[in-house]
């Protein structure tokens, strides 16, 4: 007999599982509508609470993610800024250079440390960020037998005593001078008397004074 009092249909009467379930449930007292309603309400409340908890967790993660992004951005600013503040003294740039083999534009820009002995150099090291900031230029003259070599030019008022070169073990005389970007004229003075041009630099003749002088054009990276 069905719970509502109607007879069990013939096809269901033959299902053993159903018959066992019916046999197990038949002794139980009838369900209370009020109890069912309370259970359903409790289930609904539970579902709502769960949704609310999920929403709060998501919001918390959003805030944490935003704060993390801000912190990462600030850290990136600090890290990126530091190299720009430091002058890149280790980025030498050739004001001009000559070599025995045909040069390329890339070869003219070579680190000082890798320049072979004897290779003529006039190399500038540049700092970043300024268009007219002085660039360091190395003047070099190979005079092993000289006792003193200076360089005179428009950058030191043609003062023969202002910029002395230092001699290395190979007899090469060098000095590093800051020059503003542009064109500069100069000469070497050997042993306080002999004026010589730079054999590795282009020369020009001053029409008014009637003398020749070496020229260097200093660039900016």
């Amino acid at each position: 007999m069905m719970p509502n009092g109607s007879p069990v249909p013939d096809d269901e009467r033959r299902d053993p599982a159903l018959e066992r379930a019916v046999a197990a449930l038949r002794p139980l007292p009838p369900s209370s509508a009020d109890a069912v309603a309370r259970v359903v309400a409790a289930a609904e409340r539970g579902a709502v609470l769960q949704r609310q908890r999920r929403a709060r967790r998501a919001a918390t993660w959003r805030v944490a993610g935003a704060l993390g992004a801000v912190a990462a951005g600030l850290a990136l600013l600090v890290v990126v800024r530091r190299p720009l503040d430091r002058p890149t003294a280790d980025r030498p740039i050739a004001a001009h250079a000559t070599s025995e083999r045909p040069p390329t534009l890339a070869n003219d820009i070579r680190p000082v440390d890798t320049v072979r002995p004897g290779t003529p150099v006039l190399v500038a090291r540049a700092s970043v960020g300024a268009t007219d900031a002085p660039q360091l230029v190395t003047f070099r003259l190979d005079r092993p037998r000289a006792s003193a070599v200076t360089v005179v030019g428009d950058f030191n008022q043609w003062n023969a005593h202002a910029t002395r070169l230092a001699r290395d073990a190979n007899g090469a005389w060098t000095a590093v001078v800051p020059l503003t970007p542009g064109r500069h004229a100069y000469r070497f003075v050997v042993d306080d008397s002999l004026r010589v041009l730079d054999p590795r630099a282009p020369a020009e003749r001053d029409a008014e004074l009637g003398v020749a002088r070496s020229v260097v054009v200093v660039g900016v990276p």
């Binding site: 050739a94 045909p102 540049a126 960020g129 007219d132 503003t180 009637g210």
Partner: protein
């Protein structure tokens, strides 16, 4: 951290606003990283130039004879009035002294340089820096016409043209016709060639000429190689470093008789 629903919705917006306020409060360090400062130093005022010329004249007191000293001092004062720097004129005088040149020749040399500085100032207006005035004067001495200086100015309106003019002077002094040298330099400037690239170009041309290549042909080949590697920037924006393939030379240009 437990937030209410409303707080949870508003928190990301609040964080974004806080970040924006931080950026606004510190524009310089952030902007400096994004846009490197490239403004050249301001030109000296007339009063400053006058003071400079007097100071410069005093340095010649011990070096020049009285007559020559007075003539050079007059040139220095004229330079201050004309808005050109006195330092190159003093350097020219001191060079003459260092060489032992006769005073009349020194005075003539200073006067000629003064004329070139004034001409360069006219051609390069608006002048960006004293260095480009000096380079412009040198270019005029090398045979570059004033119209070429104006073209260089037009190709580099906001940046100092000192290096470009120096390279131009070198190219012309080496035998490249002034018009072709100007065409090459201004074209490279418009394509965003950096000063250092122009210097490297000049160095390469010099070596090619030493190898026997005609100067004009050497310039044409080297400029073409450099142009091929530069990103086209019609607006004059700085170019990007050339690729390895573009900067590698195929050897000196061959001269076909």
């Amino acid at each position: 951290m437990q937030l209410t629903g409303v707080q949870a919705r508003r928190a990301p917006r609040a964080v974004a606003v806080a970040v924006l306020l931080c950026v606004i409060a510190h524009p310089r360090p952030i902007a400096a990283q994004l846009v490197p400062t490239a403004r050249p130093p301001a030109l000296a005022t007339p009063d400053t130039r006058l003071a400079e010329s007097r100071l410069a004249a005093s340095r010649l007191d011990q070096a020049l004879a009285p007559d020559a000293r007075a003539a050079v001092a007059a040139q220095l004062a004229a330079a201050a009035r004309a808005g050109v720097p006195a330092e190159p004129l003093v350097a020219k005088a001191l060079e003459g002294v260092e060489l032992g040149a006769p005073p009349p020749r020194i005075v003539t040399a200073v006067g000629a340089l003064y004329d070139r500085l004034v001409a360069a100032r006219t051609a390069l207006t608006p002048v960006v820096s004293d260095a480009e005035l000096v380079s412009g004067a040198d270019a005029l001495a090398a045979g570059v016409p004033a119209v070429a200086l104006r073209r260089v100015r037009a190709s580099s309106p906001n940046r100092s043209a000192a290096v470009a003019l120096g390279v131009l002077a070198q190219l012309v002094a080496r035998g490249v016709p002034a018009t072709r040298a100007t065409d090459a330099v201004t074209a490279l400037l418009r394509r965003g060639a950096r000063p250092q690239q122009l210097v490297a170009l000049d160095s390469a041309v010099r070596t090619d000429v030493a190898s026997g290549v005609p100067a004009a042909a050497a310039l044409e080949a080297r400029a073409r190689t450099l142009t091929g590697g530069l990103l086209l920037a019609p607006g004059g924006a700085p170019g990007v470093t050339t690729t390895d393939a573009a900067t590698q030379s195929a050897g000196p240009p061959r001269h076909h008789p």
